[in-house]
């Protein structure tokens, strides 16, 4: 049996948060926030695996752990057999990430930002320049915007540059942390189409976190539903829907599954 692209075993992460009722000169009270509790899952090569959950459910913490930006308190994470803590450098070479916030040097142009990324990943510049152009055009960015400062671009365009940066280094494991949040429907379709194309053309495994039920349904081979740091269900979209199919009169959606399993609506949690 081949090594899974990603193997997470009993991973927990707790953060200490400053208490609110802190008196001056008094010892700062810290409350503990459980971000992830005993999470285990395995993702196969070339799979698009979705992690579905509301804001604050632990999705981004999971992505940060996989990105080597956090160290788990407990448990192990392996990316293509490499331990993220002990073999950090090997893992970094295999992954890239697109986060919900398009984090860039805002006064730089897309080409300058992507050049910085290409150099960080040790890419030869001739190859990188051609690839940058191709990916940005494929994502619907116009050539005249390539040299324009990022701060003059719309949120949607910035997010497309972030997606281009994620794909530029041809990662074997691509971490997409709510990549389409805040995008207009057209841009959303561009990005989703590109994700599918990348999986079809390259040997890439994709882990996608989202709270967009339709997106998860459309793109993912399997989905884990996460709530309050725990995985409460894991199956194919069809398999998840079958969990509630017998109790509903209409064709069930992933939203029905989420409500059934957590007893809450996704929107309720987002307001919190």
């Amino acid at each position: 049996m081949s090594t899974p692209a990603l193997e997470i075993r009993q991973v927990s992460k707790v953060f200490a948060k400053k208490g609110r009722d802190r008196a001056r000169f008094a010892r700062v009270k810290r409350e503990k926030v459980v971000a992830l509790a005993d999470v285990s899952l395995s993702v196969n090569r070339r799979e698009i695996f979705g992690v579905l959950g509301p804001n604050g459910s632990g999705k981004s913490t999971l992505i940060r752990l996989l990105s080597t930006l956090l160290i788990p308190d407990k448990g192990t994470i392996r990316v293509f057999g490499h331990d993220v803590e002990k073999e950090e450098f090997e893992v970094k070479r295999l992954i890239n990430r697109v986060s919900v916030d398009a984090a860039f040097f805002k006064k730089f142009s897309p080409l300058e930002n992507l050049t910085y990324a290409a150099r960080l990943y040790g890419m030869p510049m001739r190859e990188a320049r051609e690839k940058m152009r191709q990916i940005m055009l494929r994502l619907g960015l116009k050539e005249e915007t390539f040299n324009q400062p990022m701060e003059h671009m719309s949120r949607g365009m910035q997010q497309k540059v972030a997606v281009a940066r994620g794909f530029l280094t041809s990662p074997t494991l691509l971490l997409l942390d709510e990549p389409t949040t805040g995008l207009d429907p057209h841009s959303k379709r561009d990005v989703q189409g590109f994700v599918r194309q990348i999986r079809a053309e390259h040997d890439a495994t994709i882990l996608l976190t989202t709270h967009d039920m339709e997106e998860a349904d459309r793109l993912c081979d399997r989905i884990a539903i996460i709530d309050e740091g725990k995985i409460i269900a894991l199956d194919t979209p069809k398999g998840l829907k079958e969990l509630v199919s017998k109790r509903n009169e209409h064709e069930p959606t992933l939203e029905d599954v989420f409500i059934e399993l957590t007893g809450k609506k996704m929107e309720e949690k987002e307001v919190e």
Binding site: S67, K92, R97, S99, A103, T115, A117, R119, L120, P149
Partner: protein
């Protein structure tokens, strides 16, 4: 070989990024240059006015050169210190810290790129200030040992690279106030290193602390070279000491940085704005 090429590309990423930052924030650079220039002029004019202040006949030319050497060397060393200590602060301000920290680039490569840029930038910036300030005063450096001064300055840069790495952990530990804390660290170095006065002027306990500052030896040696024409041979022991101390401070800085980076990853402090 492949690894070396990849690391060199990584180092160049930081050099190119810093050049682009200067181009995009040229207004800030101009303001900062004017500030440093005016500061150098103001300090040097204290020397020019010493005869009037004291009402006694003094070697004004000597005092002017004494102060000018201090202010220029400090300008250079502080550029090295700030450029390196800001390698994290910039990433925080721009929100790119997570992206840079998850890239497959070693912290040593990160440092090499930042240092190379800092040294070239520091030399160019200090030269501009020197040329402008020199036009205000009559400077006689005919008896100065310029090659010895350059050697000493480069040796002193090594230690300041190390101090910069130690200071760079502050924005990593304290996302909101870390960058300001590096200003306090620089101010302490300025006080104790004999930039504008002999270290012997300080109280005894501060002189003890001054002995731990590499800038104390750089500035003292530079003055010996430029004001008294001290030979390069006489400087060798100081140069070797500075290089040795610099390597030790860099090793200590990297160790501290590594530990703090791990702590930041455990505590979740690598977030873009904290």
């Amino acid at each position: 070989m492949n690894t070396l090429v990849r690391e060199m590309r990584g180092a160049f990423a930081f050099i190119e990024r810093n050049i682009n930052l200067i181009k995009r924030y040229w207004g800030w650079e101009l303001v900062w240059l004017i500030y440093s220039l005016v500061n150098s002029l103001a300090v040097t004019y204290i020397g020019a006015g010493m005869e009037r202040i004291s009402g006694q006949a003094l070697d004004t030319q000597y005092i002017i050169t004494y102060l000018l050497v201090g202010t220029l060397i400090w300008s250079y060393l502080s550029v090295i210190f700030y450029s390196i200590s800001e390698m994290i602060a910039w990433e925080r301000w721009e929100g790119t810290i997570e992206y840079t920290f998850m890239a497959p680039v070693s912290r040593l490569t990160h440092l090499v790129g930042t240092t190379l840029f800092a040294i070239v930038y520091g030399v160019l910036r200090t030269l501009v200030i020197l040329l402008i300030v020199a036009s205000f005063f009559h400077l006689d450096l005919s008896g100065a040992n310029i090659p010895g001064a350059v050697l000493l300055l480069l040796a002193g840069s090594v230690s300041f690279v190390g101090l910069g790495i130690v200071a760079a952990v502050l924005p990593l530990l304290y996302p909101e106030r870390g960058a300001q804390m590096t200003n306090a660290a620089a101010a302490i170095l300025l006080l104790i290193s004999g930039v504008y006065y002999p270290v012997e002027t300080l109280p005894g306990w501060l002189q003890v602390i001054a002995a731990a500052s590499p800038a104390t030896y750089v500035i003292k040696g530079m003055r010996a070279c430029l004001l008294h024409g001290e030979s390069t041979r006489a400087l060798i022991s100081t140069v070797l000491f500075l290089i040795g101390a610099g390597i030790a401070v860099i090793a200590m800085g990297l160790l501290i940085f590594h530990r703090v980076e791990r702590y930041a990853k455990r505590a979740g402090r690598l977030k873009r704005s904290g």
